[in-house]
């Protein structure tokens, strides 16, 4: 046969047009309202942290990839997204060197050492945050009550969850639920803008960028477990609504726990993952020394992802290989009619 000068490739011969960059850019688009809210309340300081965080994440990725002689993939936007997510859960006053250190550890140790995008067992932004949180000398920068002391925003600059931890439900009576919902609460640059995050999260769900099972079951987990605590003893534990509207729950449900690489992909695995994240959040809030537990819950549950991904119906396997004989054929017919 005479060969023509044409292209030959395996099936299928068409594509839906989806790209990896689409995921990252949708994330950034969905986070713009929360970023704007942070910039509105905390001014230049917030922009400074966001810019430094995105830049250092991208630089860290380019640097480690050029050292390891791998293709440089900062154009796919995944490093920018993890830099942005880290910035949004930090207070606006955090020193820039901390942002850079957290991003370098997150990107290099938690992401690129495991093989880059898709192969990382833990979300790099969360690892970066956890490094700051558990380092004794730096942990103070994440105390929102101290960090936001010099800002004038027009609402009470007390971190609701820290108040809950210190004073119990009696202390949080002066936080209006509507104020919390509209983002008038102390917290991270973007993580306190609950309404903006909800809008962005719903956008991501509708676009198919994130899988809806995870945020839905995350919020359900928070409501159910917080509800159990609250119904048993409402003088010691806050209501489920307060738990959803305060702290990192909204950013955790829609943006932190839904990272593709660190969440399961099978339906019941996703539901279990989200529910356990939510449950763990409330448990950590109630019984740990930390005021908020979302990030540690997400990190912990990410470690269970390979196990949760096994929650799937087993495939029916074809029979073992053996030579074909008429007996084998009639036997298989008998087995079928018997079953």
């Amino acid at each position: 046969m005479k060969a023509l000068d044409i292209t030959v490739s395996p099936a299928p011969h068409c594509h839906s047009g989806a790209r990896i960059t689409g995921v990252s850019y949708n994330f950034i688009l969905a986070l713009i309202p929360a970023m704007a809210m942070g910039a509105y309340y905390y001014g230049f300081d917030a922009i400074r942290v966001i810019a430094a965080s995105i830049a250092s994440a991208m630089i860290a990725e380019a640097l480690i990839q050029s050292v390891l002689r791998r293709p440089i993939t900062i154009a796919d936007g995944s490093a920018a997204v993890s830099g942005l997510l880290l910035a949004l859960i930090l207070p606006a006053s955090v020193p820039l060197y901390l942002v850079v250190v957290a991003n370098f550890i997150g990107i290099i140790v938690a992401k690129q050492c495991f093989g880059g995008l898709g192969a990382n067992p833990l979300n790099p932004a969360l690892v970066g945050w956890a490094v700051i949180r558990i380092t004794k000398a730096w942990a103070g920068y994440l105390d929102f009550d101290l960090a936001l002391i010099n800002y004038e925003t027009g609402f009470i600059l007390q971190y609701p969850l820290a108040v809950l931890k210190a004073e119990g439900p009696a202390g949080i009576a002066h936080f209006g639920l509507m104020d919390l919902f509209l983002g008038k609460q102390a917290g991270g640059i973007g993580s306190s803008a609950i309404l903006c995050l909800l809008v962005g999260g719903i956008y991501l769900v509708l676009r198919g960028t994130i899988r809806w099972e995870i945020p839905a079951s995350f919020l359900l987990g928070v409501v159910v477990i917080a509800g159990i605590f609250w119904l048993r003893n409402s003088s010691n534990y806050a209501s489920p609504i307060f738990h959803i509207l305060a702290g990192n729950v909204m950013i955790g449900a829609f943006f932190l726990s839904t990272d593709n690489a660190t969440s399961p992909v099978n339906r019941w695995g996703m539901v279990a993952f989200g529910f356990c994240c939510g449950a763990m959040t409330v448990v950590l809030r109630a019984w740990s020394v930390y005021p908020d537990g979302v990030i540690f819950a997400c990190l912990l549950m990410s470690l269970f992802v390979p196990l949760l991904d096994k929650m799937k119906k087993k495939q029916l396997l074809p029979p073992a290989v053996s030579p074909v004989t008429p007996q084998a054929i009639s036997e298989s017919a008998e087995v079928r009619s018997a079953s």
Partner: protein
């Protein structure tokens, strides 16, 4: 191509085309090429220069007959490597314009009273690939629980069965009756796409129930029809025997079977749909089996541009050929021509674990894991995850944002399971599929360090 909605929460849908195109008959070409997979102990019964008649069996000791579709003289018999890495024989026959039929193929007399076994022998003798895989020996016949006659097509760009149903609704009843008797199936289903409901309501289907199928890919694939409307698994020959108990026959093949049992002539002609990505127009052609694709392209005045693509059997499951001399076989459904700008290239990127492939997979496989395992040659684990159930519909690769060649990985794993057990020494044999030559990313991984590979690797 596919319609991708702004809201991606629901997976993209590929609709079958709802168009009618008259079937245009092409004359017998000067030269035809017939393909034959030579098994052990079987051989060609003809030589170069032998004169053959239409319907003559060209093989000796083959599993089914190797039917000549024209009268003429054998010009060449050469081997070539098929896309499934098997070695095929290509027999070229210079065709006379007038057919003289081989007397050994005779019509089955008194069709309505004939025994099933006689019918099966007749169908087998007429060389039907549609049933050949299960008619190895007409005497040893497995129990068929369900027979599905499908008026759906295999590919979104093919309208062959649809058109056959539009043109010959009155013949459907006879086909159902005869096939039900041939296969001795206890249940009989006629699968019709939703858009042809008005024709289906007028057709008398005898013993068969009518299943209205939404015209969305992959509902027309035999495996999906068997799962949704039949008795579970599709009957296919695994190496150990038969699995499943549903037989799916396309309407075109069913009508051809009735025809050949009545007239005593084997299936000589095949209808194919020609489409191209540029104007999106579909045209149907009826050609002699063995006609080179180039003849159809010439008749339709469609040209394959340099660096473009010529695809046989559909954009989702088909294969791209390197030559326009590739012949139409009894199972070719469509011919699709792509211009260089439409050609889609896979990328050598790693899985981002987004799970799009898992959620769209019609047989519920863990495609994300399977793709990675197959990429690194861990075929025994692929078997445990059921990679052999993959029907290669192509939807996983269609939605993959990382643009990984997922279907190719599945094929590689299936082939690997066949040829290797666990020894890495046999890996090269497993990878010798050559379906895509140097463009295969799986092979690339094993010699990733060579300089040429570094230059070829895609830039992001």
């Amino acid at each position: 191509m596919g319609l991708r909605s702004f809201f991606g929460i629901l997976p993209p849908k590929l609709y079958y085309k709802d168009v009618s195109a008259p079937i245009e008959a092409l004359p017998v070409p000067e030269k035809i090429t017939l393909l034959w997979y030579r098994r052990t102990h079987s051989d060609l019964a003809v030589r170069v220069g032998t004169k053959v008649e239409t319907g003559q069996d060209l093989a000796r000791n083959g599993r089914g007959p190797f039917v000549s579709t024209v009268t003429g003289r054998v010009e060449e018999a050469s081997t070539f490597l098929g896309v499934d890495s098997r070695e095929y024989l290509a027999v070229q026959i210079r065709a006379d314009q007038k057919d003289s039929f081989d007397p050994s193929v005779t019509s089955v007399a008194g069709l309505s009273e004939t025994q099933p076994q006689t019918l099966r022998t007749g169908v087998n003798r007429a060389g039907f690939t549609a049933l050949r895989s299960i008619i190895r020996d007409p005497r040893v016949w497995p129990t068929v629980d369900c027979l599905i006659i499908s008026a759906l097509d295999l590919d979104p760009f093919s309208i062959v069965n649809q058109q056959t149903f539009r043109d010959n609704p009155e013949q459907v009843e006879a086909a159902i009756e005869l096939l039900a008797r041939t296969t001795e199936a206890s249940q009989c289903v006629l699968a019709v796409p939703d858009n042809l409901a008005d024709i289906a309501s007028k057709v008398s289907t005898g013993a068969a129930t009518v299943a209205m199928v939404p015209p969305v890919y992959p509902n027309g694939l035999p495996e999906i029809l068997a799962k949704k409307y039949g008795a579970g698994l599709l009957m296919k020959t695994y190496d150990a025997g038969f699995a499943g108990n549903t037989v799916v026959v396309s309407l075109e093949h069913a009508l051809a079977m009735v025809n050949s049992l009545q007239s005593g002539r084997p299936m000589l002609e095949k209808t194919v749909t020609l489409s191209n990505g540029q104007d999106g127009k579909l045209r149907n052609f009826r050609v002699r089996i063995g006609t080179p694709v180039g003849e159809i392209l010439k008749r339709a005045s469609v040209e394959v541009q340099p660096k473009g693509k010529l695809i046989l059997n559909g954009i989702m499951r088909g294969y791209s050929c390197f030559s326009d001399e590739q012949p139409i076989t009894a199972t070719t459904e469509s011919v699709h021509v792509q211009s260089p700008s439409e050609v889609f290239f896979f990328q050598n990127t790693q899985c981002t674990n987004c799970g799009k492939c898992n959620s769209i997979c019609p047989v519920d496989l863990e495609v994300n894991i399977l793709g990675r395992l197959s990429e690194y040659g861990i075929f025994n684990k692929c078997r445990g995850l059921g990679v052999e159930n993959c029907i290669e519909c192509g939807l996983c690769a269609y939605v993959c944002p990382a643009r990984r060649p997922l279907v190719h990985f599945m094929t590689l794993a299936k082939q690997g399971i066949k040829t290797v057990t666990d020894e890495p020494a046999n890996m090269e044999e497993a990878l010798a599929c050559t379906a895509c030559g140097p463009s295969c990313p799986a092979i690339r991984l094993f010699d990733f360090d060579t300089e040429s590979d570094k230059e070829d690797s895609p830039k992001v």
